[in-house]
């Protein structure tokens, strides 16, 4: 059987595609919606907004998350803001400009049709959130305020202090809570999806584990929506929450859903550097800091003077030097690589030489300490709690860290994967950011998918396929349940010598060293050799305590790490096969004379869609060609 990866982007002029789709899509009769059951896995921005909206429309919804409350999904951690093409600043913004910035920011590796739709609905998102009571920052006149983010020359980012993700998520959580109280959504917190159930080639349910009692259950539905976030923790250290995982998407992949562009991972330039082996996560310092902070390192390598003792002429403000028109606001991939480069030259600062300065001295002199405090006070406090240093007095030290994953399960224009009935939204899909995501665009995409896109497109699946809601007695459910129980018991029975964390750290270090900010054919081949060995040792020598019928955080973690062990190999393979540099994927062999990413549009302007072939068999790659009707691909320049 050959699977074809057709984008299903509607024909017609770019700006009319989404309107046309909405006009032509067949609607589900309101009286019938109640008969359709939808499972939503995840309660982040994407999942909570989708679950609430589907319930408002009349569908029967079950929603699952692994945290103790849907309000705690990882989306809560987003600091900086959310983009929308409102042009409230009258600075020349438009839907087209947001579309173009996103396509260019993604290094011309995303789908035109999807991205234009995203820019179109961005304006509705702000309206919706305001109506829900999201307390966005306001100006004295009472109107909404904006700030600038990397990769854009207009001011289109809406924000709620340094807690935009929190406020947007609470808005979605409250909408979800309202539907829960109306009985339209049944919420399952502290419940982890461990497998997808496929009946007659369609996604028709999930197997879950109750994280308090350990009970394994089967749930059937007419469609399944995955909104389970990104897989950045495959690198062990990242800015993601501890529980963020690839389990839901990976297990769906093993049931037939294609994984697209797994090698597109984003490294964020402004994180607090690693302080030692004990480190469990890395903390982001919002990109908004680059509005006022200046990035620099000493000109000479091995300069051990304190930052305040290094005079202007001995400092290299390398972003301003290399990218005069964007300066400190150059996109993330470019800023991150530039930081790595100066540290590789021995000019890094702080313990281990893996850091650069982000200096607010000039901004404080220009505005005042109070002004800077008003803008970023909470970030400066967070920095001080973690490092013990006062960033009003000495520059912050920052270094890039894994932050976001552009790759994810493949979806068509309707956000449905190649497995009919399986929809994937938010960071979990591969859709709109190409090879690099612009700041403040993930929140926009999660809410676009959940509030405004999926609720329409899921109806197309229901009206175009015969209704089938299987019973959980169906043999596919039984089989999946048995597999889940067996693999859990296998992990518990190894009783080896090394902890889950040790294995995760080992895998993560390998991934960061060989497949991180810079990749080569050689480093990737080395990783491909080493990953299976780590994986084998994991299954022979891991020590998972406790048993399966109780709250067992070790077991949860072990299951997630087991999936990372498999997934890591696919990520590296994808990176090896993509013999070009684009966005966050930087292959050292492919760079311009001045060290910028060198794309190869002739051969690589496609989406790599990986299909699982069973354990021990190499996966097969299919290509979805990227067709650009409107935009001309150019070499990205931020000079």
């Amino acid at each position: 059987m050959t699977i074809r990866f057709e984008s299903k982007v509607p024909s017609g002029p770019l700006s009319q595609k989404w309107t046309k789709y909405r006009h032509e899509v067949k609607l589900v009769n309101p009286a019938n919606k109640r008969k359709f059951h939808v499972i939503v896995i995840g309660s982040g921005l994407a999942g909570a907004s989708a679950a609430a909206t589907l319930a408002e429309l009349g569908y029967n919804v079950k929603c699952f998350c692994f945290q103790d409350s849907p309000r705690r999904a990882h989306s809560i951690a987003a600091q900086g803001g959310i983009n929308a093409a409102k042009n409230y600043r009258n600075d020349g913004d438009s839907i087209y400009r947001l579309f173009y910035d996103t396509i260019k920011g993604g290094d011309f590796r995303s789908r035109e049709g999807n991205v234009h739709r995203l820019a179109e609905v961005s304006v509705n998102i702000i309206d919706q959130c305001v109506a829900q009571g999201v307390p966005f920052a306001r100006e004295y006149g009472g109107l909404l305020d904006n700030r600038s983010f990397g990769g854009a020359q207009v001011s289109r980012t809406f924000y709620a202090r340094g807690q935009t993700g929190q406020q947007l998520l609470l808005g979605a959580y409250q909408a979800l809570s309202r539907q829960i109280s109306l009985g339209a959504v049944k919420m399952y917190p502290r419940t982890e999806m461990l497998d997808l159930v496929v009946v007659n080639g369609h996604a028709k349910g999930v197997i879950t584990r109750d994280l308090v009692t350990g009970e394994i259950s089967a749930h059937a539905s007419d469609a399944v929506v995955l909104a389970t976030g990104g897989y950045g923790n495959v690198f062990y250290l990242s800015t993601n929450a501890q529980g963020s995982n690839v389990t839901a998407t990976w297990r769906a992949h093993k049931k037939g859903a294609a994984f697209a562009n797994p090698c597109y991972t984003q490294i964020h330039p402004t994180c607090i550097p690693v302080s030692g082996e004990h480190q469990s996560k890395l903390t982001l310092m919002s990109e908004s800091l680059r509005n006022d902070g200046r990035v620099w390192v000493p000109k000479k390598s091995g300069d051990v003077r304190q930052p305040q003792d290094i005079p202007e002429e001995d400092r290299d403000y390398y972003l301003e030097r290399k990218y005069p028109s964007y300066g400190n606001l150059a996109p993330r991939d470019i800023s991150s690589r530039a930081a790595k480069q100066v540290c590789d030259e021995g000019r890094g600062v702080g313990p281990g030489g893996r850091g650069v300065y982000l200096d607010f001295g000039d901004a404080i002199r220009r505005f005042s300490k109070e002004k800077i405090e008003e803008r970023y006070g909470n970030l400066f406090e967070m920095y001080e709690r973690i490092t013990g240093e006062n960033a009003y007095e000495r520059p912050m030290r920052i270094y890039p860290a894994v932050h976001y994953t552009m790759g994810g399960l493949w979806v068509d224009y309707t956000l449905m994967s190649n497995l009919p009935g399986l929809f994937v939204i938010g960071e979990a899909n591969f859709s709109d950011h190409g090879a690099n995501r612009l700041g403040a665009s993930a929140l926009m995409q999660g809410l676009a998918d959940g509030y405004f896109i999926l609720p329409y497109t899921i109806g197309e699946y229901f009206t175009s396929t015969p209704k089938l809601l299987p019973s959980t007695d169906h043999e596919e459910f039984k089989k999946a349940e048995e597999e889940v129980t067996a693999s859990t018991n296998r992990l518990l029975s190894v009783k080896g010598k090394r902890t889950v964390t040790e294995f995760h750290r080992q895998l993560g270090k390998l991934m960061w060293d060989k497949c991180g900010m810079a990749r080569t054919a050689e480093s990737l081949k080395e990783a491909l050799e080493k990953i299976p060995a780590i994986r084998e040792e994991f299954h022979e020598n891991v020590n998972v305590m406790g048993d399966a019928t109780e709250l067992n955080q070790h077991l949860e973690r072990a299951g997630r790490v087991a999936d990372y062990m498999e997934f890591a190999e696919l990520l590296v393979l994808d990176a090896l096969r993509r013999e070009e540099s684009c966005g966050g994927h930087f292959r050292e062999e492919y760079q311009t004379e001045d060290g910028e990413a060198l794309r190869n549009d002739e051969e690589f302007s496609y989406v790599a869609c990986w299909e699982y072939q069973g354990e021990g068999n190499p996966p097969v790659m299919h290509k979805e060609p990227l067709v650009y009707e409107e935009v001309r691909m150019t070499q990205r320049s931020y000079k």
């Binding site: 945290q67 480190q279 013990g388 109780e550």
Partner: protein
């Protein structure tokens, strides 16, 4: 540094718990409190003992998942700081640290340091929202909101729902949590419309969950990692009385 920990261990909701002593060795200042517990857990696993269960996720002070009573104080000794953001710089070698879960009737212990806070979700479900459905919202700038109101709404909206306020209160009252949500929504024109219904329903749900009364001592504000002000409690009381009068 080396520390002695007295940790509350409890197998599940129906078992009784007790304090168990552990040594935490080679702890460094740069570690967060939870990373210190990670180190202890790694050693426990190596010895074949059950690791200490504690809740956490973002580890950057925003998700509200973590929460431990440290030496009698919810989230420990630093002001305006969640447990995950507390760093070991706050302690010195030789310290003996007592570590226990939130204690409140409405927050039953699930295991060790983990408690069930679903009561908070049920209170929000009773009215902590604005009743608008997706679609059809007017332009975001259609209704201006004064900066002062927006800022004050944001002060209240910052609540992370961790439950430290309940854990700190001798009556295990949830007034700070509930008043933060009631005030956040009531301060905005969009939410003001259904404020009466909201405050009545949320207070009723709060009482039904078994949280205690507020006696104006202010321990909740003192431990709140987001420094939510007790002024919001006063504000909610006013809203509540007005709603009662109007809806009698």
């Amino acid at each position: 540094m080396n520390l002695t920990l007295k940790v509350w261990r409890q197998k599940d909701a129906s078992s009784s718990g007790r304090f168990v002593e552990y040594e935490a060795r080679n702890i460094i200042e740069e570690m967060s409190f939870l990373e210190m517990l990670d180190v202890v857990n790694e050693e426990l696993v190596a010895k074949g003992e059950d690791p200490i269960a504690f809740d956490h996720d973002c580890r950057e002070g925003i998700c509200g998942t973590c929460g431990i009573v440290i030496d009698g104080s919810p989230h420990g000794p630093w002001d305006a700081t969640t447990t995950c953001q507390l760093h070991m710089r706050a302690f010195k070698s030789g310290d003996v640290i007592t570590i226990e879960p939130w204690r409140a009737k409405a927050f039953p212990v699930i295991r060790d340091l983990i408690v069930d806070r679903s009561a908070f979700d049920r209170i929000i479900q009773a009215g902590g929202f604005i009743s608008v459905s997706t679609g059809g919202a007017p332009d975001g700038n259609a209704i201006p909101v004064s900066k002062d109101d927006a800022d004050m709404a944001m002060d209240a909206a910052q609540c992370i729902g961790c439950g430290a306020c309940v854990a700190a209160c001798k009556n295990a009252s949830a007034m700070l949590f509930v008043s933060a949500k009631v005030s956040h929504l009531g301060l905005l024109p969009q939410g003001e419309v259904e404020q009466d219904r909201r405050v009545l329903n949320m207070v009723r749900a709060m009482d039904a969950e078994g949280f205690g009364n507020c006696t104006n001592i202010g321990s909740c504000e003192a431990v709140c990692p987001k420094e939510i002000s007790v002024d919001f409690i006063g504000r909610m009381n006013r809203d509540y009385r007005r709603a009662l009068l109007r809806n009698e």
